[in-house]
């Protein structure tokens, strides 16, 4: 059984709202990305993992414990950043962080101070008067300072400026090195691409794809785009045996896909042609997702 095991999870809110037969297996020590547009069902799935919602069907087990029935025990391993952040009580950030460390029985104030410095968070501010970004930082500090085995985060980087987002992603990588298991939902594909080991894509409550990021990051099939000076050259190239993705005859442009091991062969061939330009088309996770969504539609 996987460390976090979601099996056939279904919660039907009617009118097509909800999640349907969601199954995910998250292994110990991996960073798992969870992407989808707003309203796709990310938060609903995460709320089931936290035991806040009761499933209509299926279940979630975390470290062998049922997330609904043993919700309180599960919290011994889990730290959480909610999608909408508001802190209980009327106290300073420092008091909140200390209370949270005390209540969860894990983590240390030293670590929280370290993280606050790193994220440039003023912990003396009252939690009620904090800006969105400050709340987000406080939530991040609280989650990372708690030293939990599992981090479940619902869109944790919203409200952070690009600099802080980089620091946050670095922190994620550090946590992974310490063997933490992390599930992070997001609708920003670049950040998921940067840190995740695997990514599940959810759409209208259903998982439509689970991708190993290694396949995308170290994809040995690359795409190139080139334009020829003359029609003769253009036609001569087409006659060669390359995998053509797209041909724009009016601009004398060709898009091809080629495996890294054949790249020398291509360059040899191209010596005989008169080119306007030749460039690699970078393939990102975002393109990949876009493609999946297009296929689905």
């Amino acid at each position: 059984m996987a460390y976090i095991d979601i099996k056939h999870l279904t919660k039907d809110y009617g009118n097509g709202q909800g999640i349907f037969d969601v199954s995910l297996e998250i292994e110990k020590g991996e960073i798992y990305g969870f992407v989808g547009i707003n309203g796709a069902g990310k938060t609903t799935t995460i709320r089931h993992m936290m035991g806040f919602l009761k499933p209509d069907e299926g279940n979630v087990t975390i470290n062998g414990l049922d997330a609904t029935k043993s919700s309180a025990e599960v919290k011994r391993y889990v730290s959480y950043i909610p999608g909408e952040i508001n802190f209980p009580g009327n106290k300073s950030g420092e008091e909140f962080l200390k209370d949270q460390i005390y209540l969860s029985g894990r983590g240390s104030w030293e670590r929280a101070k370290e993280l606050s410095n790193l994220l440039q968070l003023d912990v003396t501010a009252n939690v009620r008067s904090m800006s969105k970004g400050m709340k987000q930082k406080t939530a991040i500090v609280s989650a990372f300072a708690s030293d939990a085995d599992i981090l479940i985060m619902d869109e944790p980087s919203t409200g952070l400026d690009p600099l802080m987002r980089d620091i946050f992603l670095d922190l994620l990588k550090q946590e992974k090195k310490q063997g933490k298991t992390i599930l992070m939902s997001s609708n920003i594909f670049q950040e998921v691409e940067e840190v995740s080991d695997r990514v599940a894509v959810i759409r209208e409550g259903k998982i439509i794809d689970i991708t190993d990021m290694v396949d995308i990051r170290y994809n040995e099939n690359k795409s190139y785009r080139m334009e020829f000076k003359s029609l003769a050259d253009f036609e001569r190239f087409l006659s060669l045996d390359y995998q053509l993705n797209k041909v724009k005859a009016e601009d004398l442009q060709v898009f091809i896909q080629i495996h890294d091991k054949n790249i020398n062969h291509l360059i040899q061939d191209l010596k005989d042609f008169d080119l306007v330009y030749f460039k690699e088309i970078k393939f990102s996770f975002e393109d990949y997702i876009t493609e999946i969504f297009k296929e689905e539609v």
């Binding site: 709320r47 936290m50 209540l103 969860s104």
Partner: protein, 486 residues
């Protein structure tokens, strides 16, 4: 089940409102008690008789009755304000804002969270009303000395100045006033009586006090004798002051009671014994009282009519208003007034003077009675109010756990209690309200009238307690099971 950190957090978030409501309620209750004007209310109530206003005043003829509006309206609305807002802050606002996610992402069970929060609301309400009740008790004691001793009336105040003794000391030794002519004059004037009427009044009060002390001692003795006797009910064992007034012979049988009674009277045991014998004889004489009578006899039945006639004729003779004479009955004894009254009523002079004295004494004694503090009644009023507020708090708390949106929870959990309050207000302030209103509000179950009249009120309180228990239990179950949007 109980979570200390959650309890602490609940206190930290809610103590301010708690403190404000507790202080305001204590001050208002103390104000009601200190500002109570026994003689004044008696006059107003008499004047308002028959008007719509009288239903409001009917219960004001005693210190505790005067508090009815505090219990039914002011304490109720203050309690509602506290429980509605606190119930809201405790649960639904944390769910709605999402801050509950932080509480529930720690290894504290949902059931302990909600249990601790219900416990906070219940115990804070209990503490609030215990403090308010004690404040009322304290105010009454400070103002009238009537919780642990005899009420300090105006005559005692005046006499204590004359005799240079403390009011409390004097209130337990009223015979000291009787023994000093100057003190008697001053005290009588303070109570708007002439010396004649005041000495009758004082004699009666001292006699009652001595009977009261004797009754306590006889009851104690009987307890020792009958404690293990299953045939004797508690009520049968207890001897009340009223029983002794009817049958003073019982005192003679107990040496301790005799001593205690004599001490109150400030006389020797032998003298007291003689006094009691006279009393017994007088009572017997009253029973077979068929003395030769003048033309008209004053009986209980015609007493009030005759008094009115005397007052009216005196007023006419003195060229005054009847109400003025009624307020100052000494005027009846004026020789011109007396003559007019004798003509008007066919009573002789002696009878009219006796009647005037009686009227003055009984009005003074009813003021005294109004100032008496019945600890038992006060206890039931306070406990009833507490249970009522607990029942209302359970309604708000239930709404707070049932709904996920603050607005809806406030509309239901605040609207229902507020509707109860409005219905109660209509009932209290209007004369003839439709009976159906009584069934629309749970405040009816806290029957202050029945408590004040020592009637049947227990089942109403049991019902309120049941409502509180059921709704708190339901809240706990619902919150533990429901889906939370966190």
């Amino acid at each position: 089940m109980f979570s200390k950190p959650i309890f602490k957090q609940s206190i930290k978030t809610n103590w301010k409102l708690w403190a404000i409501v507790t202080i305001v309620a204590s001050i208002i209750l103390s104000g009601f008690i200190i500002g109570y004007d026994a003689a004044g209310y008696a006059t107003i109530a008499a004047a308002a008789e028959g008007t719509a206003f009288s239903s409001l005043l009917s219960s004001m003829d005693s210190l505790l009755g005067n508090l009815e509006n505090f219990y039914k309206l002011i304490a109720l609305i203050l309690g509602i304000v506290y429980v509605v807002f606190t119930a809201n802050t405790l649960v639904v606002s944390e769910v709605d804002s999402g801050s509950m996610a932080y509480t529930l992402s720690t290894p504290i069970k949902r059931s302990s969270v909600i249990f601790t929060k219900s416990l906070y609301l219940i115990s804070s309400v209990i503490l609030m009303y215990v403090i308010v009740s004690l404040a009322g008790l304290g105010a009454s004691q400070l103002q009238y000395n009537n919780v642990t001793g005899y009420p300090i009336t105006e005559d005692i105040e005046k006499a204590s100045e004359t005799l240079d003794k403390s009011e409390r000391y004097l209130s337990e030794r009223l015979y000291l006033i009787k023994d000093n002519e100057q003190a008697m004059r001053d005290a009588a004037a303070a109570r708007d009586m002439d010396l004649d009427a005041y000495s009758i009044y004082l004699g009666e009060v001292i006699k009652d006090h001595s009977y009261e002390k004797a009754a306590e001692i006889i009851t104690d003795e009987r307890w020792n004798i009958y404690e293990d006797d299953d045939d004797m009910e508690d009520d049968d064992i207890e001897i009340t002051t009223e029983e002794l007034i009817k049958n003073p012979a019982m005192i003679v049988k107990s040496n301790d009671a005799l001593t205690a009674g004599a001490r109150v009277q400030g006389i020797s045991v032998n003298e007291y014994h003689q006094f009691l014998s006279d009393e017994i004889a007088a009572l017997e004489a009253e029973e077979n009282n068929e003395k030769s009578q003048p033309t008209v006899t004053v009986t209980e039945a015609n007493g009030e009519l005759l008094l009115q006639a005397v007052v009216d004729s005196s007023a006419k003779a003195l060229n005054m208003d009847s109400a003025q004479v009624k307020e100052n009955l000494i005027l009846i004894k004026d020789s011109i007034a007396l003559e007019a009254s004798m003509k008007a009523t066919d009573l002789n002079e002696e009878q009219i003077i006796a009647m005037a004295n009686n009227a003055m004494v009984s009005s003074a004694r009813s003021v005294d009675a109004a100032l008496e503090f019945d600890t038992e009644t006060y206890f039931w009023l306070s406990l009833g109010l507490l249970i009522l507020i607990l029942a209302i708090s359970s309604v708000s708390f239930f709404a707070s756990t049932l709904f996920n949106r603050t607005g809806l929870a406030l509309a239901i959990g605040g609207g229902i209690p507020f509707a109860f309050f409005l219905l109660t207000m209509v009932q209290q302030l209007m004369d003839d309200t439709p009976v159906i209103l009584e069934y629309l509000t749970i405040t009816t179950l806290f029957d202050t009238d029945a408590i004040l009249a020592s009637g049947e009120f227990g089942w109403g309180l049991v019902a309120l307690g049941t409502i509180a228990f059921v709704l708190y239990t339901a809240s706990n179950i619902i919150f533990t099971k429901k889906d939370l949007p966190l």
